[in-house]
Symmetry: C2
């Protein structure tokens, strides 16, 4: 287990995804696993926390999600932006050694169904797929309900994000063509 990972209270897990950051999507089935990048993920409900994620039919990861019924969303930090771009650019359909060749380092959380986790993410959440065949077929849209979430407590503590002093964990917001924005400075507002 990674040194700084702490469990996230289920009622505050939506705050992981409220930033709208690009995620790594992981899945595993019968010893086969994959991790890909998906900018199109979004909270759907507060408690129990649900999310949506868009996964095209061409992706190897999608088959593992459909067979296992589970997926992980993790938010890669700026320190692994190159690995994130690789995992989103190369398909395991074309490159069987994709994970090894990505340059990413992997670890496990025992309860996370054997799904490989990429070191250097701000947080990690396991979801159970709520089957919605029409959404999956017509829109490539999957809905997940949270099983368990962990976050690096140097940047997400008690539901509060604070990236100061930890630039390598700033969330990435993908635009196109290898171009990301990093999450920036806080802004506090009172009515």
């Amino acid at each position: 287990m990674e040194q700084f990972l702490k469990p996230v209270a289920p009622g505050k897990a939506y705050r992981m995804f409220n930033l709208g950051a690009t995620a790594l999507v992981g899945a595993a089935h019968e010893g086969v696993s994959d991790v890909m990048t998906a900018a199109w993920n979004c909270p759907l409900d507060l408690d129990p926390c649900k999310v949506t994620v868009v996964i095209d039919k061409s992706h190897f990861t999608r088959v593992l999600m459909e067979k296992s019924g589970y997926f992980v969303l993790a938010l890669p930090g700026a320190g692994i932006a190159r690995e994130t771009l690789y995992l989103g650019s190369v398909s395991k359909n074309d490159e069987a050694d994709k994970l090894a060749k990505s340059g990413a380092e992997f670890f496990d959380i025992p309860s996370f169904k054997g799904i490989p986790l990429v070191r250097g993410c701000a947080c990690y959440a396991l979801f159970r797929i709520i089957p919605e065949p029409h959404n999956q077929q017509a829109y490539d849209l999957f809905i997940g309900e949270l099983v368990e979430a962990w976050a690096d407590d140097r940047v997400l503590r008690d539901g509060h994000w604070d990236f100061s002093g930890h630039d390598a964990l700033r969330t990435l917001h993908y635009v196109a063509g290898g171009h990301f924005k990093q999450i920036g400075e806080p802004l506090e507002v009172e009515l």
Copy 2:
């Protein structure tokens, strides 16, 4: 029309929403209009550009969306963070003069179905609702297909975001309790 607004090519409109920013959602029907804040919006398809947005049944805006079949998503800049918080905190069900009392300034784009647009956003996009009654009822999830998009070309030009020198237009990423992050610095990656 706002001075710096230029049309966005439909094939690049998804880049408006790829950042995962908090949006203002506007709708109008038979002369009644509302604008509310929704952090939970996400691209769904590239071209034609589709998006998802989560709008709870308690919101006045939702009724206008359902009756008219259209909504606008606009990305408020940091310069109107207080107005954004107000529009997301106060319901027109409780405060009929919500828009006037928000402190926001409004303008129109003639083709935008009479939906009021808040000055100070980085971009504005009109969507036609693709009716999906199960998603709307079970998950409060609406799917929209792009009709037309406009962006402030000081920050979004040819599909490229560049906020340097225009901090007031940096997108907002809502966490909770009046706490936002602003979008930060670019990060270019090559494989």
